[in-house]
Amino acid sequence: MTEIFGIPIQALMGQLMLGLVSGSFYAMLSLGLAVIFGMLNIINFAHGALYMMGAFLAWMGLEYLGIGYWPSLALAPLAVGVFGVVIERSMLQWLYKLDHLYGLLLTFGLALVIEGLFTNMYGVSGQPYTIPEELSGAFNLGFMFLPKYRAWVIVASLAVCFLTWFVIEKTRLGAYLRAATENPKLTQAFGINVPLMVMLTYGFGAALAGFAGVLAAPAIQVSSLMGSNLIIVVFAVVVIGGMGSILGSILTGLGLGVIEGLTKVFYPEASSTVVFIIMAIVLMIRPAGLFGKEK
């Protein structure tokens, strides 16, 4: 069998595939963060908690109301999005004119509160969410045994990422949004309701996190800590991609997932640090991130 650095090529292909799966989650989460930062200038530390909420809402829907996976995939993000809108209207909107730090502190506090509430109610061991019937089982790709669910994660997240990119970069609504970011006062003067757009943007970012949460629910244990385990890496992804860059965060998310996957084969001990090493290097060479524009 062909080998690369002592690792059979088939094993390597398998790991690349898995890297793509975790990259999909990074991409979706960092996309939400990038959208929020780009439009609102808020560093949304509550993103991990929103992701966790998405997963928990899916689980609660199934447990208490008998709502299956597919409806949850739409309903849970919607609920998280509405929750996001409430947060934006009731708290965040007062902070836009202040330093970034205030938004960061507020959202960080919110994350702690939300996580604390779920820990209090459901403990930390988490709840199991079974893979839907249609997606259980696996594809035999020849070089690996790929569970159907993981394949679905890649497809779903790529679709969502593409749609978001398309809406923001290629549609009239997206153009308004970008204009509102660039110069809110002037945009408002043209008769566009900027506060409404900002509110919807935050709601949408929150919904993206909720969607990622529902996607994650069958793959990992639904627990109150699932968000905080992931969020720091996602922040690194956003920084590497360039704060606020849509395409940057998608590509960096996928790319870093793959790099992390490969690290797990060659030197597993470093797999949790490799992203940060890359971040440090990128910051030294391109302080605005790979896809970011210097202001």
Binding site: P8, V21, N120, S125, G126, Q221, S223, N229, E269, S272
Partner: protein, 408 residues
């Protein structure tokens, strides 16, 4: 700006302090007529389902039951605190308990890092720690003290049971999935030793970071090793997510998963369809006999969950301690320790448990196998008991002890 941040930081630091003031207000007076027990545990972090509020409840139950049965002349009080899995927070809290609140004994103290720090403070202040939560064998070896009791389990006992039984039953090639820190490494080493001693072979291992979010890559490596047995030298959420991914990737069809620190809490969180057929060692199981069932059902009505081995052990430890205080007629640490060494533990938790010189409480352990969903007759009915491992086989023999207190 900086000033604001500073203010926030100060406010954050003061919140726990305010809690202390409230705790102190409850009882400050230490008299000879009072026994105070401190439950130090993880109240909200990764191990809070394993110990946490359940341990506090167990300790309170023990005190209530003891007062009802023995009608002691002295007052007994239980206090508790969250150590947040930080050794410095834990040892500071315990120091405060000893210095200002007259706490005589601390229990639970899960998390080996915290436990070792608390053991030192306890020795310095000459009180007693009956540890029912931590896993490391260091507590009864390099870091043993005359004031430490290690009550429920340790890594040696966890590793030895499955290492021996599974290897002898034909699972003679092993691959380890190991949490990349001291606890994981020691669990892997102890198990490897047991596997090799019984004629098995260790094919390899992969070290994963603590709280890894995705285990599929590590499991693929375990699968590629073709080992018959995959040992999970990790704990808590890491174990739970490893098991979940192992099922998804079809690893459980051809290889056997062995948890090295798996408890009923994990099985309950994952459900039987995912965990069936797993084998591991437990220090307690609620559905063993009438005695354990009776106590556990009582615990269930208060805590709404069946007890983990830590919860049952904490109840037993507090009772044992109170009996020893009563019998010794004093709360002097050395006298009470001697009394506990002289009196075997016999209750629903342990039969003929013996407290050794190195601080190890030796009692029988159970090698369990998780039932198939169809075999489970009621909620929480999860285990087949495959073997009862006699205490002397389960725990590290005294001849191998590295504890300076042990005379050889």
């Amino acid at each position: 700006m900086k000033r604001k941040l500073l203010n926030i930081a100060i406010a954050a630091a003061l919140i726990p302090a305010a809690g202390n003031v409230m705790a102190q207000a409850k009882a400050v007076k230490l008299s000879d007529n009072m026994v105070k027990i401190g439950v130090l545990t993880d109240m909200s972090g990764v191990y809070s389902d394993l110990g946490g509020q359940g341990s506090v409840t167990a300790a309170q139950m023990a005190v209530e039951d003891y007062i009802a049965q023995a009608k002691p002349k002295f007052k007994i009080e239980v206090v508790y605190a969250d150590h947040q899995n930080k050794a410095d927070v834990g040892s500071n809290k315990v120091r405060e308990w000893y210095d200002t609140q007259g706490v005589d004994m601390v229990t639970d103290v899960l998390n080996s890092g915290v436990a070792i720090a608390v053991a030192k403070v306890t020795q310095e202040k000459n009180r007693i720690m009956i540890n029912t939560g931590a896993a490391s064998t260091r507590l009864t070896n390099e870091d043993c003290t005359p004031n430490t009791v290690h009550y429920v389990y340790d890594t040696y006992a966890l590793a030895n049971g499955p290492g021996k039984a599974v290897t002898k039953a034909g699972g003679d090639t092993w691959f380890f999935l190991t949490a990349d820190y001291a606890f994981g490494a020691s669990l892997e080493k102890d198990t490897s030793d047991a596997v090799k001693a019984n004629g098995g072979k260790v094919l390899g291992s992969v070290r994963h970071p603590l709280n890894a979010s995705d285990f599929s890559s590590f499991l693929l490596q375990a699968q590629a090793s073709k080992a018959k047995v995959v040992g999970l030298a990790n704990a808590g959420g890491d174990t739970v997510n490893s098991i979940k991914a192992a099922n998804e990737f079809g690893l459980t069809k051809s290889q056997r998963l062995v948890g090295l620190l798996t408890t009923i809490v994990d099985i309950h969180a994952l459900g039987l369809p995912t965990t069936q057929g797993m084998m591991f060692t437990e220090g307690f199981y609620w559905n063993l006999n009438d005695e354990t069932r009776a106590w556990s059902r009582k615990f269930f009505t208060k805590h709404k969950k069946m007890p983990s081995m830590l919860h049952a052990g904490t109840y037993s430890a507090v009772t044992t301690y109170l009996k020893a205080v009563q019998a010794a007629g004093t709360d002097d640490a050395a006298t009470v320790m001697k009394k506990m060494r002289d009196t075997p533990v016999s209750d629903f938790f342990a039969k003929n448990g013996k407290l050794r010189e190195d601080g190890r409480m030796v009692h029988d352990m159970y090698l369990v196998e998780v039932k198939k969903p169809a075999e489970s007759k009621e909620p929480w009915d999860y285990y087949h008991i495959k073997a009862v491992i006699p205490g002397n086989d389960a725990y590290q023999p005294m001849a191998l002890s590295r504890c300076p207190l042990v005379k050889k």
